[in-house]
Symmetry: none
Subunit: 194 residues, 4 copies
Amino acid sequence: MIKSSKEKGKASKARLLTLAASEFSRRGYHDTKISDIVAAAGLTQPAFYLYFSSKEAIFIELTQAFHNRMRTLIENSLLDSAMEQENVFEHIKTKLKMFFEFLAMEPDLTRIGLFVNPNRAQIRADMVRMVRDNLVKEQQSGYFRSDLDMEFVAECLVSMIEQLTETRLLPGLSSAGHLATQIVDLLLNGMIAE
Amino acid sequence: MIKSSKEKGKASKARLLTLAASEFSRRGYHDTKISDIVAAAGLTQPAFYLYFSSKEAIFIELTQAFHNRMRTLIENSLLDSAMEQENVFEHIKTKLKMFFEFLAMEPDLTRIGLFVNPNRAQIRADMVRMVRDNLVKEQQSGYFRSDLDMEFVAECLVSMIEQLTETRLLPGLSSAGHLATQIVDLLLNGMIAE
Amino acid sequence: MIKSSKEKGKASKARLLTLAASEFSRRGYHDTKISDIVAAAGLTQPAFYLYFSSKEAIFIELTQAFHNRMRTLIENSLLDSAMEQENVFEHIKTKLKMFFEFLAMEPDLTRIGLFVNPNRAQIRADMVRMVRDNLVKEQQSGYFRSDLDMEFVAECLVSMIEQLTETRLLPGLSSAGHLATQIVDLLLNGMIAE
Amino acid sequence: MIKSSKEKGKASKARLLTLAASEFSRRGYHDTKISDIVAAAGLTQPAFYLYFSSKEAIFIELTQAFHNRMRTLIENSLLDSAMEQENVFEHIKTKLKMFFEFLAMEPDLTRIGLFVNPNRAQIRADMVRMVRDNLVKEQQSGYFRSDLDMEFVAECLVSMIEQLTETRLLPGLSSAGHLATQIVDLLLNGMIAE
DNA sequence: GATGAATGAGATTTCATTCAT
DNA sequence: GATGAATGAAATCTCATTCAT
């Protein structure tokens, strides 16, 4: 199967993206060298510049890829109120599970977007905003205590998601479903013994 | 006020440490240049090497300073069970407040220790361990639900502390006391409306 | 005559080696700067690192080049016992002449290998060993006094070769043949008047 | 016993000279740092400059010390023709032995003067000149073959002395007397079996 | 006589990036 | 589409040497 020039180019670019993701996610931005990436891709340094204008450009492309996928997921699935569930708590748990599954799908991209990216605060702010909007709706429907500052709760929830992604989900120590269940149980019911 | 020679050296070292903390905390490790630090301190580059053996060395000195202070705080104060309170919930809130106050005292050092430091996972693990040990004790005393995995809860609590430190405490948006109150309320009582 | 890309690189590396040899041989290791070498080669500093991993690396490459050529000469020519001569004294003189001719061929390399190289003791030990082995053979054949310590004689001979190379051969004051003749006359016949 | 300031200064200078000799002789000129020397002497860097105007200055002082002692030895003892011996061969052997003894007395100074010193060629030229003058006299007295180029012989003898000093005398493998005997035997009688 | 603090000058090395083919 | 050769710009670090006391 002979590839056309165009296809070969696309394949090279894809390979560079994948391998760059792997390097960035393992070593961080500064400790990843263009020479490492192209060597892994079996290419030379000038070839890199056929596809990306700079080291920063490929990094941004990766973080934006993560960001876009996350937004798509949120818009298409998580906000899909058509998704009916027997009760609101199961509903939340399902959404959380889906989100963890998304984060587990492309670990390198996730690590880059959430941990390596120096602008990770922005992505997190996005997550916080959408989580808060969701929570506020449920709160207005009377499911949650009306005295809770949902901005605050959203920030807590997002930080938990990030932390557990780093220490449990990506290392394979806990499944998406398990984490979702644990979080929902803790946050909804609280810690106090009856 | 004339400084002795020895005092002058100590002052120079201290200035370098302070200024390095500021640079590292703002720009991160790689984007901080020795030339920036010494220029800010009114010194030349070789003077830096009178006090630190390398760029890495001063960075490590800063992260260890944070780590040591944190450990000291934990050992001297947070674990001090002599600190009697009317009830366990106030007790927890007080501890949390003290911890936030500690984090707010030296913002640069905190940012370096918690966010810039590539080994921040280790510091976090330390925090998780001590929080968990505390929680387990309270749990055994019957204050908390016995079915909770306290390792998990500790991880959640620590991630919340870190996140809120970054987004609220250090920027001055919330006080230590307010954050402590909010966290305790959320985690202990849960979100569900009665 | 257009050079291919690949040939150009090889030419650059060769130029660097030649010029480095010249600098090292004139100034010694420490007083030779990479900047001198590349300037002489019409290149910039980073180009140096395309071909050699460090300053030490190029120096070692040069000393090993000398060492290898010397070994090759010894194995291919000097030990060649097929080389028949009317008598053993002419034989020795011829070998000595060939060795001096070798040393005179690449003066810079010779100076680096014998005088600049901090490990020159090793090269000299190699020479001593092979000279001794030769002499022992002739001794066993009855040509030389049986009471001579040939290790000692070899060391003397080698030191004479080195000294005369430095003071006479390389400055062009004496020819290889003349030096060989003088040495053989002195060492074989001794100084005593009949 | 309290030392006067002057005495203390002299002692410091002497210590620096001795220790510098040791460092230079072991590591060579460039790899010896002022900081090493003063540290070994229990002093600080500025103290060094009380006694020597530069690194080069102390090195030159050491090489000149060697050179001067050598000249003194030669003038006072080796050229002392009053020193009568039963025969000229014993005479030569004795001189040689004395010279080796001189070289063995202060090994560091010897190594610096003969091997480390970049101007060692000059010292060697001095040695060659005086050896040649001696030999020419003996030659004119009829002890040596009249067809020998005594400049050449002197160069050979000096190179042998240097080599054997480095490989045998200073490492303690051969004594001054033994080396003198071996050299005289080889050079006077030659290698040819009768 | 001696010191602690500091510096001038420079060397090696690295790395993202471009040129010419 | 891809390459070998080369570079601009800079960063870390070293070391002999001096200043002020």
